[in-house]
């Protein structure tokens, strides 16, 4: 079941989705037993930004039919503090580390990529591009041109693999192609779908941030199509995610062309979901290869 992803050897194809597993907090809650049975074959950090962010005001969560809207707002301690305090702790996990970063300009992305890539604990970087470029006003990940030019700006800064996390709010194939042309080593998808909810007690928006992103089982059929179309459009490896809760779902994404898959929301329901999905996937792939 081991796979190579951009030259990184993974024991199995199941990663976590960025922002859906805090390995440091989980170790605090579950103890060192977590390290012995770490659910993912590589760990993807929550997205970090150059400066610390408090995140959005609560409420930040809203449960929907078979899904979850989150409006977390990327709370994080900022680049310096991440490198200083978090990275050494994450290195103890014993799996390859992929650090997710997000800036609002080429300069911010450059600072993040340079700072993170310099650390030997880091195996690869994921660029979270679901944010506006303050210079152009466009959401980088919704525009092939913005995505390509971002890649051209940061690609020269490191030889380490750069993964671009695609947004599902536009057809992702053209953006994936642009990312690959700009030098991305892999793409991952889907991020969450833009969504909102109303306070049941009255007409106001429920979420402190006004709106958020939908994830979980509800979005699985959307993710499957987007992964299939992106995998058909690019030659770089694809990390598929969106509503994976069983090995069969992971198998569907791999059939659709993904090299690896990630588990997000399902880890909330089952902290060891990644491990379960990996072992179910192993059985599933055996079954499919015998069909």
């Amino acid at each position: 079941m081991s796979v190579r992803l951009c030259g990184i050897e993974l024991a199995h194809p199941v990663l976590n989705g960025s922002g859906t597993f805090d390995a440091i907090a989980a170790r605090r809650a579950f103890g060192d037993e977590l390290l012995a049975q770490f659910p993912f074959s590589a760990f993807v950090s929550k997205t970090i930004t150059p400066e610390p962010r408090a995140g959005n005001p609560p409420p930040r969560l809203w449960e929907t039919p078979s899904g979850l809207i989150n409006s977390i707002g990327l709370p994080n301690r900022g680049l310096e503090s991440f490198l200083e305090s978090d990275l050494p702790q994450l290195a103890e996990l014993g799996v390859p580390l992929i650090v997710s970063v997000m800036g609002t300009s080429h300069a911010e992305f450059a600072r993040l990529v340079t700072g993170v890539a310099a650390r030997e604990e880091v195996s690869a970087l994921e660029l979270n591009v679901s944010c506006p470029n303050v210079e152009s006003g466009l959401i980088v990940g919704e525009s092939p041109g913005e995505t390509c030019s971002l890649l051209e700006a940061v690609r020269p800064l490191t030889p380490k693999p750069l993964i671009v996390k695609l947004t599902p709010n536009v057809s992702p194939a053209p953006v994936a192609v642009a990312a690959a042309e700009g030098g991305a080593d892999a793409v991952s998808l889907i991020n969450t779908l833009r969504a909102t909810a109303t306070d049941p007690g009255g007409g106001r928006p429920w979420l402190g941030g006004g709106r958020g992103g939908l994830s979980g089982a509800a979005v699985r059929p959307i993710a499957l199509l987007q992964v299939r179309e992106v995998a058909a459009a690019v030659t770089v490896p694809v990390i598929g995610m969106g509503g994976v809760s069983t090995g069969a779902h992971a198998g569907d994404l791999i059939e659709a062309g993904a090299t690896a898959v990630a588990v997000g929301t399902e880890s909330f329901r089952d902290p060891m979901a990644g491990r379960r999905v990996a072992s179910e996937l192993e059985r599933e792939l055996r079954r499919l290869s015998s069909v």
């Binding site: 597993f21 579950f30 049975q37 408090a54 995140g55 609560p58 409420p59 929907t64 078979s66």
Partner: protein, 291 residues
């Protein structure tokens, strides 16, 4: 941080790794609430104030795809036995998850992970010269206080209990305090003081020895905020058990944000649910404690 005076009392218990299926051994009516028990064969005995994430094995998501996520519940009581730890929960049916849990049959299975979060700290840690504890609870919120009272009594620490209820429907949690001396308040005057439980607390705090007591409160947000302000006014240390919407319970989702007194947010699942009155900006957590 935790004192060694009463060994183990109030120390955070680390959760067993991952979720496990536990058998429901009892489910009884308690006023307008239900108290049900599950046998946790593999988990440790929780500390008072800690909580578990619960979901039923079958029929979760039975109302148009909801409940989708597991839900947080405080342990109301627990008892180690030869086969495992019996965990008691007090539940009020307010939405899809609590309706499903209230309908649990004996022998049905429950998914559970925990115990999670920061428990109550012993009075000696909160008040240097302690005259004991004052426990203030309201409605469904009295669950964690029931276990805390038992633990304090076990450690020989005196506690006084003040409980308030809106009406007799909502006084079902009293069953958990069967053999203790309690001062009651009810908003409809059906029992005890006709008014709020905080009226009782105010009288008590104006008494002689209260300055050296530690107050522990759990209940509706408005009650907690009143307790917090009363304690601040009287210079009395207090701990509050708060609620916030939680998707994971172990620090993974950053959804359970509670505003800190100094700005920014804490994750209630890992830095709470028990918090010091001075730590937070308000106990009126947006989106929390909807009922």
């Amino acid at each position: 941080m935790r004192s060694a005076a009463t060994p183990g009392l109030g120390a955070r218990v680390t959760a067993s790794l991952g979720r496990r299926a536990c058998e429901v051994t009892r489910n009884v009516q308690a006023g307008g609430y239900r108290i049900f028990s599950a046998l946790d064969r593999d988990g440790p005995e929780p500390a008072a104030g800690q909580f578990y994430m619960l979901a039923t094995e079958a029929g979760w998501s039975a109302e148009e795809g909801r409940p989708y996520l597991a839900r947080a519940f405080s342990v109301a009581d627990c008892e180690p036995g030869p086969e495992g730890v019996r965990l008691d929960f007090l539940v009020h049916a307010v939405g899809p998850a609590t309706r499903r849990l209230c309908a649990l049959g004996e022998g049905e299975r429950l998914w559970l992970h925990g115990p999670l979060g920061r428990p109550f700290a012993p009075p000696a840690e909160l008040a240097p010269v302690t005259a004991g504890a004052i426990l203030v609870g309201g409605g469904i919120g009295i669950a964690p206080l029931a276990l805390w009272r038992r633990r304090l009594a076990g450690a020989g620490i005196p506690s006084r209990v003040l409980l308030g209820f809106r009406d007799s429907e909502r006084s079902g949690g009293l069953d958990l305090f069967r053999c203790s001396e309690i001062k009651l308040a009810s908003e409809d005057g059906h029992r005890g003081h006709h008014g709020h439980v905080t009226d009782l607390l105010e009288v008590m705090l104006e008494g002689d020895d209260a300055g050296s007591a530690a107050v522990y409160a759990c209940g509706p947000p408005a009650m907690l905020e009143a307790v917090r302000l009363l304690c601040r006014e009287h210079g009395v240390a207090c701990e509050l058990a708060l609620e916030a919407p939680m998707a994971c319970g172990f620090g993974a989702c950053f959804g359970c944000a509670v505003p800190l007194a100094g700005g920014g947010y804490m994750r209630l699942c890992v830095d709470g649910p028990v918090v010091g009155g001075e730590e937070i900006e308000t106990a009126l957590v947006p989106g929390g404690g909807g009922h």
